[in-house]
Subunit: 366 residues, 2 copies
C-alpha cells in the first residue's frame, strides 16, 4: 500500500491496513467490512464498508497531523475473508477465525461444491498470510448498506444497529435410491429430488402458518447424480430460518423437520441432518450505538436504531471486541442483485458519520 | 485392433470394428450398443451389448472360415457416442448423427453444465474421427439388459423388442429474481427454486391423476446462483413423461404445464420452455423380431415380445436401417444403479441368440 498504511495478512487471509497514529499504544480500532460478494451481488454490499473505511482512516490520519497528541490508539482498515459464504460455508469465516469462534483448521477444511477446500483456494491465490495483526483490537466499526427497506420507508439517513436476529441454518440430506427414469414404475421410485421439492414448499408453508414475520429460505441444492435419466438418489438442501425471537424459529423448525421426515418417508426417502447451526441474536456494543446516534445528530442527519435480520462481520467480531454497525438506506431493500443501489449522497452521509465515530474512538480517553 | 477388424471412427466419435466377410459386397450388418454410462450406472447397461457384439462378430467370422462362401455381406461391431446423455443432452447423439436425424453441427454444439461443448470434448480426447464407416449398413442389432422386470417376472430368457413408448422431454426455465435470503420479506420473494419444487411434485401428481401407468421424472436441475444467501432467480428443470400412448402423454403434460404456469405465477415466477422434444414410439423391424424369436426357439430358450419404455440406439438407427433389439433379464428391473445385475447364464443366452441372428443376417440370400 502506498497510502502510508502497514499491510498485514493473517492466516485466514484477512487483510489489514494499519495506521500507526499512537506509536506508544498497542491498541487499535478496526474499521471495515468485506470485499467478497455473491454471484448475483451488487456494487455496495461489503465493498462500501471497506472503501469508506479506508477513506475514513485517511481522514482521521490527516486530522491527527493537525493535532499530533490527540490520538490515543491506532486505527486499521480490514477486509474480512469470505463474509458471504457463497462458495464456502459457513459464512463470516475470516471474522469468526479472528475471534477464535471458528478454528483455523475447521475453516481451512471447508470445501466448495467441487471439493476444493478453503485452505487450498487461499494457498492457490497466495493468501495464507503470515503477518497477523500484531496490535490489540479494542473496537470494531462496520459501515454497510441496509439490504432491507426500513431506512428508506422512514426517510431516515442512518441506522445504529443494536441487535441481530437469530438464524438457524439446517443442511438436510435426502437419501433415496438411483434408478432408471424411463423404466422404473412410479411406485418403486425413491426420488430424493421429489422429497427435496416437497421440503422447500413445506418450509414456506410452515413460516406462513406461524405468521410471525420470520424469514426462511432454501437457496442452495446439490443433486446426485443430476442426470436426466437417473432418479436422484441423494440430494442436499441448505435451509435457513430467521427471526428476532428464537422461540419462533424453534416452533417453525420443529414442525418443519417433523413434516419433511413424514413427507419423505411417504415416498421412501430418508432424511438426515448434516449441519444444524444456530447463530444467536447478538447485542452490539451500546456505547457504539450512542456514539453513532450522537455523530449523526451533530451532522444534522436523521437517525434511528435497528435490529438486523442479516449476518455481518460486526456480529461475529462482537464476540470478543465491542463492535458497531452503521447502515445507510438500500433502494427498495434490494440486495444480492445487480440492481442493488444506494444514492451517492446517502453513501456520503454514512462516510461522514463513520469518520466522526472513528475520530472519537481513536481519541477518547476511555 | 489386433482382432482382425478394421477400425473406423466417424466425425461424432462412433467407433466401428469392421469384419470384411464378403469382400465383393458393400453391405454391412451392424451390431453393438454404447460404452458410455451414468454417474451411478452399473456394469451391464450398454457395455454388455458392445462386448457381446464383439464376441459375436468373432464367432461369425470364425464360422465363415469353415464356410467361406456363406457370407453375403460384411459385419461390424459399433460403439455409439453418448447414448446416455448424462453429460450432454440430447441422448442417443452418435446414433442420431449417424442417421442424419441430428446434424453434426447441432451435436457438436451441445454444451455440458460447465459450458464445454461436445465438439470441444471430443476434440480434447482425439475422437473427432476422420474414418467414417465406408460401407452400406443394411441391418442393425442391439443386445441389452432389459432395465425393467418383465422378463424376470415371467421367467423368460429373451425378449424381442417390437416397439417403444413415446417420450416427451420438456426442459423448463423458472425465472424469478435474486434477493437476499436474510432480509427479503417472504411476500416479496420471487423464488424460482420454490416454483421448481412445486413443479416436481405437480408432475408426480398429474401422472397419478391420469392413472394410466405413465412414467415421468424430473432428475436434473440447474439453480442460479445456488448460493445459500441468495433467493434463486433462475432455475432449469429437465422433465420427461413416457407412455406407449401419445394421447396419455399429451393429457398429462398439458395439465402439468398449465398447472406449473399457474402455481408459479402465484409466487411471481415466470415459466418458459427451453426444449420440448417428442420421441415418438418406434416400431422395430418385424423381420428382426421374427428372427430373434426363431433363434431363441432353436436354442430352447423361452422368449417373448416386448415394448420398451426406454430409449436405445436401435430406436434411433431404425429411422434409416432396419433395426432389432434383444433383451435379457435385469434383476429386480434395477438399472442406472451400481447394484444393476444380470446372471452370467442369462448373459450367455443373449449372446447365443445374438450370434445366431447375426449369422442369419450375414448369410441370408435377401
Amino acid at each position: 500500500m502506498d497510502r502510508g498504511l502497514t499491510p498485514k495478512i493473517d492466516a485466514i487471509g484477512n487483510q489489514f491496513g494499519v495506521a500507526t497514529l499512537a506509536p506508544a499504544s498497542a491498541d487499535v480500532v478496526l474499521v471495515g467490512s468485506h470485499l467478497d460478494s455473491q454471484p448475483t451481488g451488487g456494487r455496495y454490499d461489503g465493498v462500501y464498508g471497506v472503501l469508506a473505511g479506508l477513506l475514513a482512516v485517511e481522514a482521521v490520519k490527516a486530522r491527527c497531523l493537525d493535532k499530533p497528541a490527540a490520538a490515543r490508539r491506532n486505527l486499521a482498515v480490514v477486509n474480512w475473508t469470505n463474509e458471504e459464504g457463497a462458495r464456502f460455508q459457513p459464512s463470516l469465516t475470516g471474522s469468526s477465525v479472528f475471534t477464535g469462534a471458528l478454528s483455523l483448521e475447521d475453516a481451512y477444511a471447508c470445501a466448495d461444491g467441487e471439493g476444493t477446500t478453503l485452505g487450498e483456494a487461499l494457498s492457490a491465490i497466495g493468501y495464507l498470510g503470515t503477518t497477523p495483526l500484531d496490535k490489540n483490537p479494542v473496537r470494531y466499526v462496520e459501515l454497510h448498506v441496509e439490504q432491507a427497506d426500513s431506512l428508506e420507508k422512514s426517510s431516515t439517513d442512518i441506522a445504529a444497529v443494536f441487535h441481530s436476529w437469530t438464524t438457524r441454518k439446517i443442511s438436510v440430506i435426502f437419501e433415496g435410491d438411483y434408478s432408471h427414469t424411463g423404466s422404473t414404475p412410479m411406485a418403486l421410485r425413491r426420488d430424493a429430488l421429489r422429497a427435496a421439492g416437497r421440503a422447500i414448499e413445506a418450509l414456506y408453508q410452515e413460516v406462513a402458518n406461524e405468521n410471525a414475520g420470520a424469514h426462511a429460505a432454501a437457496a442452495r441444492i446439490s443433486v446426485y447424480p443430476n442426470s436426466p435419466n437417473v432418479v436422484a438418489g441423494r440430494v442436499r438442501v441448505w435451509f435457513e430460518i430467521r427471526h428476532e425471537d428464537e422461540a419462533v424459529i424453534s416452533a417453525i423448525s420443529d414442525r418443519f423437520l417433523r413434516r419433511i421426515e413424514r413427507e419423505s418417508a411417504d415416498i421412501k426417502v430418508a432424511v438426515s441432518i448434516a449441519v444444524d447451526e444456530r447463530r444467536l441474536g447478538t447485542a452490539l456494543d451500546p456505547d457504539g450505538v450512542a456514539l453513532i446516534l450522537s455523530a449523526a445528530a451533530d451532522l444534522g442527519f436523521k437517525a434511528m436504531t435497528l435490529k438486523t435480520s442479516i449476518g455481518h462481520d460486526a456480529l461475529a467480531i462482537q464476540k470478543c471486541v465491542p463492535s458497531s454497525l452503521i447502515f445507510v438506506p438500500s433502494q427498495g431493500g434490494l440486495s444480492h442483485n445487480p440492481r442493488e443501489f444506494t444514492a451517492p449522497e446517502a453513501l456520503d452521509k454514512g462516510y461522514a458519520v463513520l469518520t466522526e465515530v472513528l475520530w472519537n474512538m481513536v481519541t477518547a480517553k476511555e
